[in-house]
């Protein structure tokens, strides 16, 4: 009986409540018309609240960077704090890598669907990320006004098939560096070379004269993957400024490549250049200790490295390179072969946005805010100053105005000459072409080049092997033939 009573009471309460609710609903329906204005006002308020809420929504951005400058990761910490003052709800996670493992780590993470939101890459690597579907068209997420801050030619480097995948951070020029005293003793007119270049024959004479029983005339870092640097940087001597010609044909099948390989054969067989692979770090040590007169790849910033090392040596600092000699570092352009146009290899490094499992449009807007922050203004200027070069965006150049480089006038003139000779890669290279060029470099050119260095094959055989593989990969009609200008 008690249960029945309780049940009856509950049901009664429920009935009464529902009736009251119906009554309220009816009243609301009747007054709906008169309250339309109020409702609109409420909607606007809600929108405003939503916007406020959106800015309160926390977001985490991951960035992967190698030590672009020696202290880049430390600097990044300060810049993140600065960025957080404006965007306190965005957390930035930094993945710090070394130059050695950066690309491999990034590729692995990207393929696992766990790429960082932002990563530092050289423009030539963008094709791989486009090919595997992780690179993102950033033009949709950046304010066009901000994009206008960047130089168009630098943006072109970060563009593939008309799509912009990242923002440029800095441009580097890579050529040769040497010991002034030794070069002049070997008959080089250093100042003239720095401002108007030199021919390959002049270069060959100088390295011949500069070679002694305990010193090479010329050393280039060419161990393993750094072979690619030699092809890129010294390739301009033969007029090869990119893997593709202006009409988008693969350029390493041209006669220019054969001339380049023959030059290597001459330099190694005559003993002007080592016939063994030299590691990247080793070539600078060889220059600093007088084991070579001339080295590559060399950059303007080496002037600073060499000066600091000599200071350490004079102060008897144990961190100085053992056997350091006093020297004046000179930055020189790569020589030019007959029939080739004088040019210098330049490359743009920048930040690209990558897709991962957490990517959304809202997130990408935040990603681009931070990417733009890093690639512009004082942040970019700091990097540009460290590499002794001018910025690639207006705001960075402005920030650079107050900075004075510790650079000799002669080297500054050489840098100006080199920059004027940089040829941008052709536009319109497809992601597939870019990925195939990487495969050619890694699977054919680098291994064959090592055999050429060791004197175990001839330039002609290496060239023939490159042509055979390239014809298979690109099709003969898409490969350059004869001498390209």
């Amino acid at each position: 009986m008690k249960v029945k009573k309780v049940l009856a009471s509950v049901l009664s309460v429920a009935m009464i409540s529902s009736l009251v609710a119906c009554g309220n609903a009816a009243t609301e329906t009747q007054t709906a018309g008169s309250e339309t204005q109020q409702a609109e006002t409420k909607t606007e308020e809600a929108k405003a609240e939503e916007t406020a809420a959106a800015s309160d929504v926390t977001d985490t951005i991951t960035i992967m960077v190698p030590p672009i400058t020696g202290d880049y990761v430390d600097l990044l910490g300060g810049w993140i704090s600065e960025f957080n003052k404006e965007y306190p709800n965005i957390t930035i996670d930094v993945i710090s890598t070394s130059w050695d493992d950066h690309t491999e780590k990034l590729t692995t993470m990207a393929l696992a669907g766990e790429a960082p939101d932002i990563a530092e890459v050289s423009y030539a690597a963008i094709g791989s990320y486009v090919e595997n579907g992780t690179a993102i068209d950033i033009s949709k997420y950046i304010d066009p006004e901000r994009l206008a801050d960047y130089d168009q030619n630098a943006l072109d480097y970060m563009t593939l098939e008309g799509t912009l995948y990242g923002l440029p951070l800095y441009i580097t020029i890579q050529a040769l560096g040497g010991n002034r005293e030794m070069l002049e003793a070997a008959g080089a007119d250093v100042t003239k070379i720095q401002t108007s270049g030199w021919t390959y024959d002049q270069f060959l004479d100088v390295i011949k004269n500069g070679t002694t029983s305990d010193r090479f005339g010329f050393v280039f870092a060419n161990a393993g993957a750094t072979t690619q640097d030699f092809i890129n940087i010294f390739g301009v001597a033969a007029g090869i400024t990119s893997s593709f010609t202006q009409d988008l044909k693969y350029s390493y099948t041209s006669d220019n490549m054969l001339s380049l390989l023959e030059a290597v054969e001459t330099m190694t067989s005559s003993g002007y250049m080592p016939n063994y692979a030299v590691e990247a770090g080793q070539r600078l040590v060889m220059l600093q200790t007088g084991q070579t007169m001339l080295t590559g790849k060399a950059m303007p910033l080496f002037e600073n490295n060499i000066k600091r090392n000599i200071e350490k040596m004079q102060a008897k600092d144990p961190e100085a390179v053992e056997g350091t000699i006093e020297m004046e570092y000179v930055f020189l352009p790569v020589p030019t072969m007959d029939n080739a146009t004088a040019s210098v290899f330049g490359t743009v490094d920048g930040m690209i946005a990558l897709r991962n499992n957490n990517t959304t449009d809202e997130h990408l807007q935040n990603v681009l805010k931070f990417m733009d922050f890093l690639c512009s203004g004082e942040r970019a200027a700091t990097v540009d100053n460290a590499v002794y070069l001018t910025g690639v965006c207006e705001s960075a150049r402005k920030a650079q105005e107050s900075f004075e480089l510790d650079q000799s006038d002669e080297n500054a003139a050489a840098v100006a000459y080199a920059i004027s000779k940089v040829v941008a890669p052709p536009t319109g290279i497809s992601a597939e072409q870019s990925a195939n060029a990487k495969t050619m470099m890694d699977e054919t050119i680098v291994p064959k080049f090592q055999a050429l260095l060791a004197g175990e094959t001839t330039a002609k055989d290496v060239y023939d092997a490159i042509c055979t593989e390239a014809y298979k990969l690109f099709g003969e009609e898409n490969c350059a033939s004869g001498w390209i200008k």
């Binding site: 393929l111 993957a225 016939n275 090592q450 260095l453």
Partner: protein, 304 residues
């Protein structure tokens, strides 16, 4: 009463069984879970990926295309050949070295044996990368390189150890032969201790000399151990990666590109996961075939 007690005991038995079963399943479960997560799942995943053109956001099924590409690639066959050459030289020499050292260590007292075991095992606990760096220094191709300085003492010219196709593979083989015998030596010593002394006593009574005892007693008695080390050695050698990766990068002209390095490059340098998985599956088939062959040739008359 007695009948009741017996009935009680019988009733309680299944409870004990149940408890035993639960703990048994628990222990097996951990091992099974580890196996499923870290072995079975990756293997199944690799098989599936080998039939795809892998992309992190939307792979495409391509049938046997990756297998056809792998089998039609000259570099794949070159890497198999390089791995075979490396294995054929390193494994037998390594076994002979380990066996000889174990034979020389066994007559010592236990404490002296432990010292030798420790010394020979030491490279095994050192980081492979660190060891490779030391070897890179030894093989430095400049006249200042350690090996080249030794050659200079005898008036020989400097060698391009790691960059010449004549010496690159030899350099990797020398490195392998001088770097890692510790585990093999310890296993051989254990096998030698397992041989009953009565065999030696009987042989001595028959006037057997040292090498006769080795030939007629030690070698046959150690045959199961040798087979085990041979099989595991061949499997390990076919998977060799770090030596080539650290020392030569596969060069010059891919003359030291092992199959493990090729798979690594395809997966992590070029991002061709599908092709890399197909090559890994082919490698697994080759290893399985070789292992079966070894058991067929050597294992039939072995008693364990």
């Amino acid at each position: 009463m007695k009948k009741q007690e017996i009935q009680k005991k019988n009733l309680s038995k299944p409870r004990y069984h149940m408890a035993d079963n639960i703990s048994g399943w628990g222990f097996i479960g951990v091992a099974v879970a580890v196996f499923v997560i870290f072995t079975l799942y990756p293997v199944i995943s690799a098989v599936i990926t080998s039939f795809q053109e892998y992309k992190p956001f939307g792979s495409e099924f391509v049938g046997f295309e990756n297998y056809i590409t792998a089998l039609g690639n000259d570099l794949f066959w070159k890497s198999i050949k390089n791995t075979l050459v490396y294995t054929v030289v390193v494994i037998p020499l390594s076994l002979i070295l380990s066996f000889s050292i174990a034979i020389m260590i066994v007559p010592f007292t236990k404490s002296v044996q432990s010292v030798f075991k420790g010394i020979y095992y030491l490279p095994g606990i050192a980081s492979g990368v660190a060891i490779s760096v030391v070897w890179l220094w030894l093989y430095d191709a400049s006249p200042n390189g350690i090996f080249n300085r030794v050659l200079a003492l005898f008036g020989a010219t400097s060698q391009n150890w790691l960059s010449s196709s004549k010496t690159a593979m030899l350099s990797l083989i020398i490195m392998a032969l001088l770097s890692s015998h510790g585990a093999n030596i310890i296993i051989y010593i254990a096998a030698l201790h397992g041989i009953d002394n009565t065999y030696y006593e009987a042989a001595e009574m028959d006037g057997a000399k040292f090498f006769q005892k080795i030939r007629y007693i030690v070698l046959p008695m150690c045959r199961p151990t040798t087979l085990f080390l041979l099989v595991t050695g061949v499997i390990g050698s076919f998977q060799v990666f770090m030596n080539a990766y650290m020392m030569t990068g596969g060069g010059p002209d891919n003359n030291t590109t092992m199959i493990g390095l090729l798979i690594f490059n395809n997966a992590f340098t070029y991002g061709k996961y599908g092709l890399a998985c197909a090559q890994a599956i082919l490698l697994a088939i080759v290893i399985a075939a070789l292992t079966t062959l070894q058991f067929k040739l050597m294992g039939e008359d072995i008693e364990y």
